[in-house]
Subunit: 226 residues, 2 copies
Amino acid sequence: MSSKCEQCIIRQFNSLKALTKDELLRISGCKTSKFIKKGEIIFEEGETLNGVYCVKDGICKLSKLSANGKDQIVKLVVKGDLLGQRSLISDESVNLSAVALNDMEVCFIPKVEIFGNLKNNSDFSMDVLKQMAHDLKESDNVIVNMAQKSVKQRLAEALLYIHKNFGVNKDGILNVVLSREDYASVVGTATESAIRVLSQFKKEGLISTTGKQIKLEDLEGLKRIE
Amino acid sequence: MSSKCEQCIIRQFNSLKALTKDELLRISGCKTSKFIKKGEIIFEEGETLNGVYCVKDGICKLSKLSANGKDQIVKLVVKGDLLGQRSLISDESVNLSAVALNDMEVCFIPKVEIFGNLKNNSDFSMDVLKQMAHDLKESDNVIVNMAQKSVKQRLAEALLYIHKNFGVNKDGILNVVLSREDYASVVGTATESAIRVLSQFKKEGLISTTGKQIKLEDLEGLKRIE
DNA sequence: ATTTAGATATGATAATTGTCATGTTTTGTT
DNA sequence: AACAAAACATGACAATTATCATATCTAAAT
């Protein structure tokens, strides 16, 4: 019993908003809904996808295994994002692995539907194109940051990024809860280094922590990190 | 007196190949041809573009100024590539600066033409989409490399990348000639570090140099760098 | 041919980051 | 509650990379 895409609010946050009522009805008919538990793998590097996932709830990480055996987290995915678009479009195997950081709810939309709409609805394809263009810009900016900034700067920016894009709960604690290892993997450093920098931020009053939970105490201070 | 796009071979290498004869004729009518000297700026970060550049000849670098004042080269552009697509599509100012590394010849195609074709020719928009999807994958891979690999590894890979994608002349010398500063800027390190690593490669017989010209002497050796 | 600015090269040293060892805390399981 | 496993934390040290100083080489301009 799948609910109706026409009434799904999530769709407003991604390219599916450009679809017509008829197109949405068709998708409603063939999509499948899935619940994914924290830590579960949605797909893995090298797999072939036969559709895209629309994230209804929860957060996941997109990562790639480096030659040295360490995982690099390339992106964090919010509610509303589409997963697997890129691989679908270029008709290649998936380049990144997706792992749930929370319990998630996703809808799987088959490839044929997406391609049909890309071909026939230029509003939709234009929106997908815009989304990709935006992602590409973000990626280029990440490259520059990785290449030019220190671990301390990158970690400060990662915290600010999560704060801005995923928000905080009523107590001011970041909605995304990452392990220290995951932070290291976002920033591209050793786990111990990430731990050390977070400890330093704590000492300096820039953040406070309760277990894995992190609260940003001084946004301006974090922005000033050099 | 602009030559005809219909007869331009370059177009086979980019998304313009998906255009119809009529569409190409229209572009022929409104495009402008430009010669750009080595070192000249094609466009700079923050500018607004009113079209895309189709690279007919020559090579250029796309770079971004980091907060620390250093340039990071994000991509090298070959003959056949389109410049400025991304910014045009997302309707934002340009994120990267483009500077000629050679004497170049480019054609400028106005925004309206591109958008018209994106809207009306789904083969064209699909091809642009594919190109962007491919670029996005490449960018993600670069992020992983920047984050996880050493300067030595990154420089070896940069040399191999240039070898593979831009080729060599009759003497086996890389077709792309970069200054040591540019190499540092590709790899994301200090100029002195880039120089040192290149010197080391030379000592180890992996490369040979004559001034700025570099020849790869041992491809397999470079691939094995750790 | 000489000058000169810029690029290349290398040494010395400092700063950053990674690795290994080890201890503590947290978490989940029986 | 007791235990084991995992995550977190920190010290000591090694490796990598950046910075500063200075020397040499190259290429362009006079």
